[in-house]
Symmetry: C2
Subunit: 157 residues, 2 copies
């Protein structure tokens, strides 16, 4: 199954971008994996938060297909321990889906339309982190999960 | 009150080290803040995990004083939301202590001696992250907390 990370806006911090690339490269040794960056909205200064979320949401919806299993990375989602996440990913791999699409939204969260489309909402932490850092955390964790599935000695409890 | 981050071993990833420095610099605008790096143990190849934890633990204990409020960053500690963390830090500031010492241990966790000395154990996530990344997360969160306490517009729920 293919894995895609959908994210809004480029990773502008060049140091974080380097570490993101490092983990993305590692993940590609285990799975077909792409990062799809949706362009930032333009002229947001004249838009309400609600309007920004709605417009961003439409772009997210357009970027996923009916064959995708859509997982939102969302502060209010379910928190999993690393081994739970790994066991759960293995179950998703068994589903008759073409892709797993992980979605990291902008700083305002997701629109109702996106929440409606999601198959699952997961949280990396109860704490709020900048979304650029969330990308890094997520990629490290996805890499970690593959090493667990393959029985490699990266993770220990 | 002074704040210190006690950590074991240098941050060897130079990109993560750059972002760590960035947040440490930001924190220093709000508080006296130091990062104290305990040297890595030597000849660990012939040591059991238990022995490594014990030796590392002794160095941690030697680095804190009776006047310190000691907080361990520990996967099994209490998870706080960002605003809870911020409210709680404000309470710690009221205590008759000289320093708050946050401690990030090595990959094997802490010795019983360190757990015994700790005033509080907090967790940034249910998931396991590399301790170098934990440093980065922690510093971003500490910076975020100061912006909340000062009423600055960095954080939004």
């Amino acid at each position: 199954m293919k894995i895609v990370l959908l994210q809004t806006g480029k990773t502008t911090d060049k140091h974080i971008a380097e570490v993101v690339d490092l983990y993305a490269g590692r993940i590609k040794k285990y799975s077909v994996f792409d990062i799809v960056t949706l362009p930032d909205l333009k002229n947001t200064r004249n838009m309400s938060v609600q309007e920004q979320k709605m417009k961003e949401g439409k772009k997210i919806i357009q970027s996923v297909s009916v064959d995708d299993y859509v997982i939102l990375l969302d502060e209010r989602g379910k928190e999993l321990r690393t081994l739970e996440f790994s066991g759960w990913i293995e179950k998703i791999f068994m589903l008759p889906k073409k892709r797993i699409a992980f979605v990291i939204g902008g700083p305002w969260g997701f629109s109702d339309e996106v929440y409606g489309r999601a198959d699952f909402r997961m949280s990396l932490s109860k704490m709020t982190f900048p979304h650029q850092l969330v990308r890094l955390l997520f990629l490290e964790q996805l890499y970690r999960v593959f090493t667990i599935i393959k029985g490699e000695p990266y993770h220990h409890e």
